[in-house]
Amino acid sequence: MIKLIPRVENSKAMIILSPIIALTLTALSAFVIFIFILEDIKVSSVFFTLFAEPLIDPYYFSELLVKAAPLMIIGLGLSIGFRAGIWNIGAEGQYVIGGITGGAVGLYFYNVEGFWLLPLMALAGILGGMFYAGIAAFLRIRYQVNEILVTLMLTYVAVLFLSAMLQGPLRNPSGFNFPESRIFHDSAMLPIIWDGTRLHIGLLVAILLSILAWFGIKKHMFGMQIKISGSAPRAAKFAGFDDNKTVWYSLLISGGLAGLAGLFEAAGPAGQLTPGLPQFYGFTAIIVAFLARLHPIGILFSSLLIALSYVGGENVQIDYNLPSSITQIFQGMLLFYFLACDILIKYKVVLNKTKD
């Protein structure tokens, strides 16, 4: 019989160890699966391609960072809401809307150069995402409609809206009628911080934001408000914290950041608005947030880890002809193990040989 005995206080050792145990278990499971499906390929070389190559090869490392940036930005925003029990599952939709609003500004001024254009686009992206998430906040406060459902439904609407925009007002007039926008001109593209790669300023923004978020949660009243609201709503009310304000802040911040990430994607790696803008960053960021236990600095690391699995997984797909679903399976398993190992922090696992 396995018994779970609550610890007196959280095990500090386990806070560090449990993610490592989870990673090890995932790697072991991967090993087992590979043995089964790879007949004549060395498992060790697959592992190398999956985990090591993206860290060693400069190009793939830059791509890893490119993919991690939006995950960081969105994950940070989401973690703020999750701490307060506000479940914004529709960050993907806010990301798309932000890409549209920010991108539209850039396209509107397509023949104008100027340093002011990018900040304006970023602002438009943030406002777009904020507005979109704000709908869910409004509905929750006014009509007690669950935000999980609203944000999720609105995600589908956002993707369809993108398609409608690319078919209509945002379509490239000299683009042979294909549903794509013009390619962004120089002033509308994000500056590259690593020459020869696609790594853009978004990464620096992400790191900056996580440091800000860390301070915000540690020091500022707002952070405490969110911490308490999440763990004890009634106590929060007694202390004078406004529940409605928390809902607004959480959704507006997560929506705004998601919108910013959308603009960064459009003005960065993509360089235009296409139907391929949605890449599930909004959903993957939820996993990133949880893997980091909603901690801003942790989000930096979990984004890198997930980005690693994407880039490495893709290379495994190309080099060894394995299907792309492999990456999804491992991400799912990693999250399972991680959540499961989390229990080691709060509980001690005891094996009872004798029955009570």
Binding site: A164, Q167, F176, I183, E265, P269, T274, G276
Partner: protein
């Protein structure tokens, strides 16, 4: 130099000379890569490209090494996939429109690698574009549909309102009308290239609204399975889909990319590759047809065969005037055929006679 050493040197030199002349020193194989938008199991668009890749391997054997990557989404990730391939290959085929911008970007960074972009419109020194005149195929099946329909409603499952799809609808309609003045075409837009469930729903909706022949510009075998189940006719898309519709399939438009791919890969090997834009049809063998269904009346089959032969000899053009646009304005005068650009390549109108409203 000692005698023994001298004779080894002579032997070695003679050996090298012999090898050099007989060419027994194996040349490096050409490395060709293919980027697919969907799974090869779609038995449609991607399947046809993969058949082309397999054809190249079959013909060139050990002289070529082929890498394929399936289900690459048309987003910024594709640039990374193409880059990965560019690092290790000599020629890369990107088989969907949405890879255009990424292909151009990567081509700039790898000027020694050749790129072939399907259905695109931007070329560069090391980027070619290629597409097929699928509308010629639509012409043939349009005639068959016009003859075989009893309800005079052709159901058309369309993906996105881009020129290639519009060309297909117009060509099919014109051909059907030419043999059946009462025929109409109903179009449903599903806004996806591959979604079996949605394609099936669209097929059912069209059948419910009176269509007794289906055409599709989507990639799965779903519509033809619906046609088979409902006992009506349909056409295979991009490949022979007879297995999914043994009774339903009257014929299929087959994209035969093999010979073109072989030609281009061989050109890389021979050092004769040059950037070009290819827009081939039945005449060049890029568009082919699945065997005609025997349940059709002899005169319908003969008419279709004649159309195929005419196309293969370049004797007819599916868009031959007089043709007006849907709003009545003139497009082609009597006997006039359209230039590739802008008429065909940017086509954004229905022809006169189509009842459906042009999307958006």
């Amino acid at each position: 130099m000692s005698n023994r050493r001298f004779s080894s040197v002579i032997k070695l030199s003679l050996l090298s000379l012999v090898l050099a002349f007989t060419g027994n020193v194996a040349a490096d194989p050409v490395r060709a890569a293919f980027v697919y938008i969907g799974p090869t199991g779609d038995h449609g668009w991607t399947f046809a490209h993969d058949q082309g890749a397999k054809y190249v391997k079959e013909k060139m054997g050990d002289d070529v090494v082929i890498t394929t990557v399936e289900s690459v989404e048309e987003n910024s990730d594709s640039e990374r996939v193409i880059t990965s391939l560019a690092r290790k290959n000599d020629i890369i085929f990107t088989t969907s429109f949405g890879y255009m911008n990424p292909t151009i970007k990567v081509a700039k960074r790898y000027p020694d690698v050749k790129f072939e972009h399907a259905t695109g419109y931007i070329q560069a020194d090391n980027v070619s574009t290629y597409s097929a005149r699928f509308y010629e195929g639509r012409h043939v099946i349009g005639k068959m549909a016009g003859r075989m329909t009893k309800s005079n409603v052709i159901g058309y499952i369309a993906s996105f309102p881009i020129p290639e799809v519009i060309r297909g609808i117009n060509a099919a309609f014109l051909a059907a009308r030419s043999v059946n003045p009462d025929v109409q075409v109903k179009v449903v837009w599903v806004y996806t290239w591959y979604d079996p469930g949605k394609e099936a729903d669209a097929a059912n909706a069209l059948i419910a609204q009176g269509a007794d022949i289906l055409m599709q510009h989507t990639d799965s075998t779903a519509p033809i399975t619906v046609a088979e189940e409902k006992g009506i006719y349909a056409f295979g898309q991009a490949s022979n889909m007879r297995e999914w519709g043994p009774n339903a399939q009257l014929t299929g438009i087959i994209d035969d990319w093999g010979p073109y791919y072989l030609d281009r890969v061989q050109a890389v090997k021979d050092g004769t590759w040059a950037s070009q834009d290819t827009f081939d049809g039945v005449q060049q063998g890029m568009v082919k047809f699945a065997p005609l269904n025997n349940s059709m009346p002899v005169d319908v089959k003969n008419e279709a065969m004649k159309a195929i032969i005419d196309l293969s000899m370049g004797a007819i053009h599916p868009f031959t005037g007089p043709i007006n646009k849907q709003d009545g304005s003139p497009w082609l005068a009597e006997g006039e055929t359209p230039p590739n650009f802008p008429d065909l390549l940017t086509m954004d109108f229905y022809v006169e006679g189509i009842d459906s409203k042009y999307p958006n």
